[in-house]
């Protein structure tokens, strides 16, 4: 059998340990330091569930991991076709890793379409487990195979395991009172069982999960568990699988603590609940379903006992409108959406800028323009978030860098919104939203204090000595205006989207006042306190700085490691705050001869950097709906270094 890790691409990240031992059953056990598995099948084959379960098993085993679900926008695309292929990639290791991996070491292909759609990503020598039952003449023709790749030698360069998954599953379930079709459905659990055996995954979690998932259909639960165990036993007994693998827990990669696996959208939802608790304000979410943001709405709607109100509005505009109304009333208000929804919300975001009320706008970016690629990732809403409104309407922008970081980013966005009384953009993306990684569960006592003060009384004395309340009398330090919520006696006031007189907030068309208010709103956002940008430049001698933002953190960091492992020098910095930029950004940029900015768009951050600092930032772009691959980014950085 070929080594699992053979391509040069992986070696920078660590190579296979040569250690091999014989297990009690007589089969060889080989130790690996990392593995990338991709499960691929029809949209209806349950690949996402299979991947999720394998991920949970892996997380509870203590490996570091990173995942990449990849599925079509259609709920059930035509069976057996290339557009209908759904996949789930999982990278796990005995050490700290950053990405779901460039190329899989193992592909589980449930049908010819899954094989065809994914084979191009596999390095030679990779293992392929195929469900031979699906390799019928008709299925092969459907995806354009002239001959059967399992027989025509085209897969000779790979380690192929032909397994009749469907037949074996049906055979394993013949004791159950199930139709053939029902029994067939458990073939993903058979595959999961086989992979769980191959990689020594703990099984209790999955069995528990199946029992509770099908609690109302105990027969189905039992059948799935039986298929899962049959898959495991098949691996253990059949001769085709002579070797199994161990990937030790990544103990060294993790600081002490209690961990769980978490996806970006879940972390973001939890971050919002945490922010609500830390601010001592009820959470209000106004939202309209949209991929890939809907899971946040789903999650928050389950936590009403935290005082969370979720409002599924009639459209995107009403979603943010209701949130803004709740903000006026003193809630921590949020709207969640993706790019097309932001376009619809733009006018209300402008109103929130003018009203100067706290509001979180969570944009889980996807491929655009227009409907674009709903289930794929992209970072192309940055300039929309920055500038997509009429008039001068500055809005702070915060971006998480990893799935787990969505939790902290939500708290940070809430801090800015509440402190400065402003709408804030939180720019996540499809890759972070659906990807997952281990997360050290924070001590809730250590979360930031986000409590605010509502205005309680007059804040201005008029010339005649009368004490009055002025809704646009600002805090001199933050330039924030008071948040006076209805129900507070004596502070009755009216606010609106028309330009307001400084201080009183009364309608004003005065030219000088408008000029002043436009500049003041800008100054408030420019003055938002954000931490300085940290630069990772271990030797201090690098000439090239790679500057990223958002979800490119994993691949960029992995690429930087490759360069350094190969003896090269490169500095890395990653922006959480894009508006305003950290105060030291200009100084950091000027420290380096070259600045490379990789983005999943056509150079939006680079445009901002070039415009603001007159720095000749080099843009490196990819807009194929997928995250960067570390190997390719390493090439880009190497070119910049050698240039």
């Amino acid at each position: 059998m070929t080594s699992q890790v053979s391509s040069p691409a992986e070696q920078a990240d660590g190579t296979v340990l040569g250690e091999q031992r014989k297990a009690a059953g007589g089969k060889a056990v080989r130790r690996l330091n990392r593995v990338i598995i991709r499960f691929a099948g029809d949209s209806g084959d349950g690949m996402q569930l299979t991947g999720d379960r394998f991920t949970s098993e892996t997380a509870s085993f203590g490996n570091d991991l990173s995942t990449l679900p990849n599925f079509p926008a259609e709920i059930r695309a035509p069976a057996g076709t290339l557009p209908g292929v759904s996949s789930f990639q999982l990278h796990f290791a005995d050490h700290d890793i950053l990405t779901p991996g460039d190329a899989p070491n193992v592909l589980v292909a449930m049908n010819p379409a899954a094989l065809k759609a994914n084979i191009g990503d596999l390095p030679r020598g990779a293992e392929i487990i195929v469900n031979t039952d699906e390799f019928t003449k008709r299925a092969l023709q459907k995806v354009g195979y002239a001959s059967n790749p399992l027989e025509d030698g085209s897969l000779d360069g790979y380690s192929l395991h032909p397994v009749p998954l469907t037949t074996l599953t049906i055979e394993a379930l013949k004791e159950f009172d199930l139709s053939r079709k029902e029994a067939e459905r458990s073939k993903n659990m058979f595959a999961l069982g086989l992979l769980s055996w191959m990689y020594h995954r703990p099984t209790e979690g999955t069995e528990k999960f199946l029992t509770s998932k099908f609690a109302k259909k105990p027969d189905i639960a039992a059948a799935n568990i039986a298929a899962y165990r049959a898959g495991w036993n098949f691996g253990e007994t059949t001769e085709d699988f002579a070797v199994s693998y161990e990937v030790a827990p990544a103990a060294a990669a993790f600081p002490p603590g209690v961990y769980r696996n978490i996806s970006g959208n879940l972390a973001l939802a939890y971050g919002l609940i945490a922010a609500s608790r830390q601010a001592d304000l009820p959470l209000f979410l106004g939202s309209y379903p949209i991929t890939p943001a809907s899971d946040i709405l789903h999650e928050l709607s389950r936590h009403k006992n935290f005082g969370v109100r979720t409002f599924q509005a009639e459209d995107e505009i009403a979603g943010i409108g209701a949130a803004l109304g709740a903000a006026f009333g003193g809630s921590l208000a949020v709207t969640t959406t993706s790019g097309p929804g932001v376009a619809l919300k733009s006018e209300t975001i402008g109103l929130a800028v003018s009203l100067e009320l706290p509001l979180l706008i969570v944009d889980i970016q996807r491929g655009g323009p227009s409907t674009g690629l709903p289930t794929k990732t992209e970072q192309a809403d940055l300039l929309q978030a920055m500038y997509g409104r009429n008039g001068e309407a500055p809005v702070p922008v915060v971006a998480p860098r990893t799935p787990a970081d969505c939790f902290d980013a939500a708290l940070e966005a809430a801090r800015i919104a509440l402190t400065y009384r402003t709408p804030v953009f939180l720019l996540s993306d499809g890759y972070l939203a659906n990807g997952s990684e281990p997360w050290r569960i924070p001590d809730t006592e250590e979360l930031p204090d986000l409590r605010v003060r509502f205005a309680q009384g007059p804040n201005h004395t008029t010339d005649d000595g009368t004490e009055v309340f002025w809704p646009y009398q600002r805090d001199p330090r933050t330039l924030a205006r008071p948040w006076a919520i209805p129900g507070t006696p004596g502070l009755e006031h009216r606010i609106g989207g028309i330009e307001k007189q400084d201080g009183t907030g009364n309608i004003s068309y005065d030219p000088a006042n408008h000029d002043f208010m436009v500049r003041t709103r800008q100054a408030k956002v420019d003055g938002v306190e954000v931490p300085d940008l940290e630069v990772d430049d271990p030797d201090g001698g690098a000439g090239v700085l790679v500057l990223g933002w958002g979800s490119t953190y994993g691949p960029v960091t992995a690429a930087v490691r490759r360069i350094r492992d190969a003896g090269g020098a490169v500095a890395q910095a990653h922006l959480r705050h894009i508006n305003p930029f950290p105060r030291n950004l200009e100084e950091v940029l000027r420290r380096y001869e070259k600045v490379v900015v990789p983005e999943m768009n056509l150079g939006q951050l680079a445009t901002l950097i070039r415009a603001k600092y007159l720095v000749d930032a080099r843009s490196h772009n990819q807009v194929n709906g997928m995250p960067f691959k570390a190997e390719q980014l390493a090439e880009v950085l190497k070119e910049a270094i050698d240039d």
Partner: protein, 380 residues
Amino acid sequence: MTETPAGAPSSLGDSPRGGSSGKGSSPGGSPFGDALALVPKAEAEQSMRDFKSDQEVRWCPGCGDYAVLAAVQGFMPQLGLARENIVFVSGIGCSSRFPYYMNTYGMHSIHGRAPAIATGLAASRRDLSVWVVTGDGDALSIGGNHLIHALRRNVNLKILLFNNRIYGLTKGQYSPTSEIGKITKSTPVGSLDAPFNPVSLAIGAEASFVARTVDSDRKHLTEVLRQAAAHPGTALIEIYQNCNIFNDGAFEVLKDRQQAEDAVIRLEHGSPIRFGADRAKGVVRDQATGDLKVVAVTAENEAEVLVHDAHAASPTTAFALSRLADPDTLHHTPIGVFRSVDRPVYDTLMAEQLDAAVEQHGKGELGALLAGNDTWTVVG
């Protein structure tokens, strides 16, 4: 500035700090509660002056909006609510300047979106009395979607729809309630589209409270406001309002004493629907079609005259009443409360779900939530 820091942990209830709810009055007659039960009462007697803000009113001289403003400011003291717990939210248009002139909390928002914004406010703050001020363009054109959804949800909002059948603030284009063939700046040879009848639309959206009144009839307007304010859920009040600049006299037939007698049908719950000189006309059901029609009342048919039932569960008859008016001449225009029925109120249901969640699962504990069910420990 005197500000107090955040105090006790937030309650799940009706105000952000769980403060002022519960001072309210006892529930009214509706099984879904009194719309104002949770709204604190004023501590002292109020007068109309208390509700006038310090802002100069800037509608055109002679605008019907002045009369509505005066009626609302005059009515508010009758409600007796704490002024700080009243909020007016508006969209864009002449009428939407209304909140600036009310000495309550207020928001002048963006075109068409007031019902959405007010929904978020009302749903998160049941201790507030929330009013929406909108116009025919704001509510029925750019904001049509939000209006029908507010009505179907039955959020605790009172929507005042000023209908002048014209766009005033943009200087005189036809509106979604303008009659077909309307000659305006944007339709020099006549408008082509059929108008909405706001009352029909609201009943079609299954609004629980729908009424129509006229700007110049202060007594009638005030009575409708009173009923709307007490109604649990969304109340839509269409107010025929004269734009003396761009559509002067649009409702003259309903205002001119002589013409009004035959044009206006005053609806009163529990009374036969009769109008005209000597109440000689009446509304009866057409036995052949089931529709409503106007007849001369005679000794023979007097018993057939429809008795208005605003509380009928079915919206069918209320809808038929809304269709009596001729969209061009406004003859046979019913005014008053078409429909006032009890339906569950959205914000109450939402609050109940929160309470039920606490009852079932206990108050949310963040540490437990974050940990979930599947953890592992790394020992240092």
